[in-house]
C-alpha cells in the first residue's frame, strides 16, 4: 500500500477511492497479463512439441477407443458327405435323415454334391486356422494398445511439464527484463549518491580547511579587522544574548568607550536589546571620572571561548551587583587592574 500517499490534513476521499479503483484495475490487468504470458507459453510449447504437427496432434489426440472385440472364431465342426442330410431333432431327426438319404439319388440327379462338400470341409479347416490367428492378433493388439495408452499418459505428462517450463521461462524472462530496468535505475541512483557524497566530502574538506584559515584571518583581523567583522556577525546571531550581556558587562567594567565598541560589534537585535535596557546598565557619561580602564581585549571582537567567558562573567557581575551594588565588577576574562 505504499503507493497511497496520504496527507492527514489534506485527505480527499474521492481521490483515495480513485486510487483504490485504479489499483483494482491494475490487479485485473495483472491477472490479464498472467493469462497473456500463459498464452504465449502455450504457443511456444506448441512449437516445441509440434515441429511438424505430428506430435502435437498425437499429444492432443483424444484417447483411442477400444478396438472392437475380435469376432468369435467360426464354429468348427466335421463336414462330410452326410452332414447335409443330418438333423438335430432327435428321433424325428433320424427319420428326416432317413428320408433325405432315401431321396439323395434324386438330389444327385439335379447337381453334384461332392465338390460342395469338399469346399466346405476345406473351409472348416481354414476357419479353425484363422480363429487361432485372430486370437493371437487380438492378444497382441490388447498388449500394444495398453502400451499405447501408457505412452499417451506419459506424453500428456511431458506436454504439461514442458508447458509449465516454458511458462516459467517466459515469466522469468519478463521478470528479468523488469529486474534489469530496476538495476539500471538503482545504478543511476547509486551514481547520483556517489557524486553527492563526493560533493559533500569536498565541502567538508573545505570546511575543515576554513577554521585554519579563520584562525589565520583572526590573527590578521586584529590588525585590519575586515574578516573578524563577518565572523562576529555570524557568532552574534547565535549568541546574541550572551553578546549583549558581555557588552553590558564590558560597559560596566570599562566605561563608555568599551561599551560603545562592544555595541558597535554586536548584532542589531543585541543593540535593540541594549536600547531598551534599564538606565543603570547604560554606559556612563564620558565626562565621568576615569575608572579603571578595561583592557583592549574586552572591547575587541572575541572568539567563541573568549566571548563566552565575559558573558558568564556578566552573569556573575549581575549577581555581584545585587549583592554589593557600589563595587564595580570585574570581568573574569579581563586582567585585573593593578592594586
Amino acid at each position: 500500500m505504499s503507493e497511497f500517499s496520504v496527507q492527514s490534513e489534506g485527505i480527499d476521499v474521492e481521490r483515495i477511492m480513485e486510487q483504490v479503483r485504479a489499483r483494482i484495475r491494475a490487479n485485473r490487468d495483472e491477472d490479464a497479463s498472467n493469462a497473456q504470458v500463459r498464452e504465449q507459453a502455450d504457443a511456444k510449447a506448441a512449437q516445441l512439441l509440434n515441429p511438424g504437427g505430428a506430435r502435437s496432434s498425437h499429444a492432443a489426440r483424444p484417447p483411442q477407443e477400444k478396438a472392437p472385440p475380435a469376432p468369435s472364431p467360426a464354429e468348427s465342426f466335421e463336414f462330410d458327405q452326410d452332414t447335409i442330410y443330418r438333423s438335430s431333432r432327435g428321433a424325428v431327426g433320424g427319420l428326416l435323415y432317413g428320408i433325405r438319404k432315401l431321396l439323395s439319388p434324386l438330389l444327385k440327379f439335379f447337381f453334384n454334391i461332392q465338390p460342395v462338400a469338399h469346399a466346405l470341409s476345406v473351409q472348416t479347416r481354414i476357419n479353425a486356422r484363422q480363429a487361432a490367428f485372430d486370437d493371437r492378433v487380438g492378444r497382441l493388439f490388447d498388449m500394444s494398445s495398453s502400451r499405447l495408452e501408457a505412452r499417451e499418459e506419459i506424453d500428456k505428462l511431458n506436454h504439461r511439464v514442458m508447458n509449465d517450463l516454458v511458462a516459467e521461462m517466459t515469466r522469468l524472462s519478463v521478470e528479468m527484463k523488469n529486474h534489469r530496468m530496476v538495476v539500471e535505475s538503482v545504478a543511476a541512483r547509486l551514481d547520483f549518491f556517489e557524486r553527492q557524497a563526493r560533493a559533500k566530502e569536498s565541502g567538508a574538506e573545505a570546511r575543515t580547511r576554513l577554521p585554519a584559515a579563520d584562525a589565520a584571518g583572526a590573527a590578521e583581523g586584529q590588525t585590519d579587522g575586515a574578516e573578524p567583522t563577518r565572523r562576529r556577525r555570524r557568532r552574534g546571531r547565535r549568541r546574541s544574548g550572551r553578546t549583549t550581556a558581555a557588552t553590558e558587562a564590558a560597559a560596566e567594567a570599562t566605561g563608555g568607550e568599551a561599551a560603545e565598541a562592544a555595541e558597535s560589534s554586536a548584532p542589531p537585535e543585541a543593540a535593540a536589546a541594549d536600547a531598551v535596557a534599564p538606565p543603570e546598565t547604560t554606559a556612563p557619561d564620558s565626562t565621568t571620572p576615569p575608572e579603571p580602564t578595561a583592557p583592549e581585549s574586552a572591547a575587541k571582537p572575541r572568539d567563541d571561548d573568549s566571548a563566552a567567558a565575559p558573558a558568564e562573567a556578566a552573569g556573575e557581575t549581575a549577581t555581584a551587583r545585587e549583592d554589593a551594588q557600589p563595587e564595580p565588577a570585574q570581568p573574569s576574562g579581563a586582567p585585573e587592574p593593578e592594586r
Binding site: M1, F4, V6, I11, V13, I16, M17, R21, I24, N27
Partner: protein, 439 residues
Amino acid sequence: MKLAVVVQRYGAEINGGAELHARYIAERLARHADVEVLTTCARDYVTWRNEYQPGAESVNGLTVRRFPVSQPRSPREFGRLSELVFTRRHSLRDELQWLSAEGPTSPALVEHLRLHGHDYDYCLFFSYRYYHAYHGIRTVGRRALLVPTAERDPALGLAIFGPTFRGVRAIFYNSFEERALIQEISGNQAVPGVVVGVGSQIPPQASARRFRNETGIRRRFALYVGRIDENKGCAELFSHFQRYAAGGGRLELVLTGAPIMPVPDHPRIHSLGFVPDQKKYDALSAADLLIMPSQYESLSMVTLEAWAMGLPVLVNGRCEVLHGQALRSNAGLYYASYEEFAETMRLLESNRRLRTGLGANGRRYFRQHYAWPVIEQKYLEMLQQLQRDGEPAVGGAIEPLPGWFGRRRRLPAAQEVLARATRGPVMSDGTRRAAAGAG
C-alpha cells in the same frame, strides 16, 4: 412557544433510529420551548401491540401523552398490500388500505390533534410513512412540521405521500440526498427545508482497555454496530469479510447488536449480542474502524458517533446517503463490490496515517454539523423564521384527497416511481456525484 413532537413510539428504552432521534430532539428543544410528546401505546414496531398505559406520563422530564392503537398489524395483510402497491399497478384506495395495515393505527391520537392541535404553535411529526404522520399532518394542516426520516425505499414512491411533503410548513431533512430525493419525487421545492440530522452525546470516559479486558479480544478489529439483519447488509458483510480474511486480511470483525440472522461460525468473527451504550462506546474507542454495510440508511447515527470519537468508517457505497456523508466529510471510505471492500479494508488496516486523518476529519465534521448546539440552532432558526414569516398567503391547506373515481384510478407501482428518481450522493452545493459502482 409550544411544540408537540408526534412520533409512532416513544420511551427511554426504545432504541429505534427515528424514535431515538425524536426523543433526542424533543429533549433538546425542551430547553427552548414548551414541548409535549404525542405517541401511541405501542412498543413493538412489528405488531404495534398496546404495551404502555394510555394517558400522560413523564419521560426524562417531558410530558408524554400516549394513545391506544386500535388494531395491531396483521403481517399477512400488510405483506399482501405491500406486494400490491410496491410492485403492481394499483389505486389510491389500495395505498390508503396499505397505510392502515402498516399502522400504528391510532384514531385517538388523530382525534386529539383535531381537538387540541391549535393549542400547539407547531406539531413536529417524525417518519412520514406511518399512520400518525399521514393523518396527523392532514389534521393540523399548516402547523405541521416534518422530519421525514426517508430512505430510498418503495414507500416513498406511493402517491399518497406527495401532498404530505407539499403540505407541511417546513421539513427537517437528515441528509442532502434525502432532500434531493423527496424534492424530485414530490416536487415540494417550495416548502422550506433544512438539512439537520441529529446529534449524539458521547461519554468522555469510553475505554478501549476496558472493552478488551471484558471481551478478551486482543487483536485489531473492525466494528459493526446495529441489528444483525440481512436488511442491514450483514449477509453481504459476512461474505465479503470471510473472503477478505481468507485472502490475508489482518483485521477481525466484532459485531454488537441483536442477531436476527445466523452469524457465521468463523474464528475471526465475534458476535457480542446486544450491548449497553457504555460498552458500545468502549468498543468504538477500541476499534480500528466502523463498518456500516446497510444499503438503506437515512442518516446512520452510529456512523456519526464513530466520527465524533475520531474513528474512520467504511460504508456501503450503494447507500447514497452514507456515500454522500463519506464524500462530504472526507472521513470514510466506501465500497460497492468485494474488490473495493477488500482493497479499502487493506488500505485502512495498513495505513495508520490515513485512519488518523479520516478520524480527525470525522471529528471535525461531527463538530461542525452534528454537535448539539449546531442542531439546536438549526431547529430554532427554522422555527423563528416560520414565526417571522407567519401564515403563507398561497397554499394554506394540504391538498384534499381525490373523490370516489380519483381514488380508483390506476397508479404505477411504487418501485417504478422510485426507480425513475436520480441516484448518487449530493454534495453541499447541490451537485450530484455518480453513484458508487456506476462507473
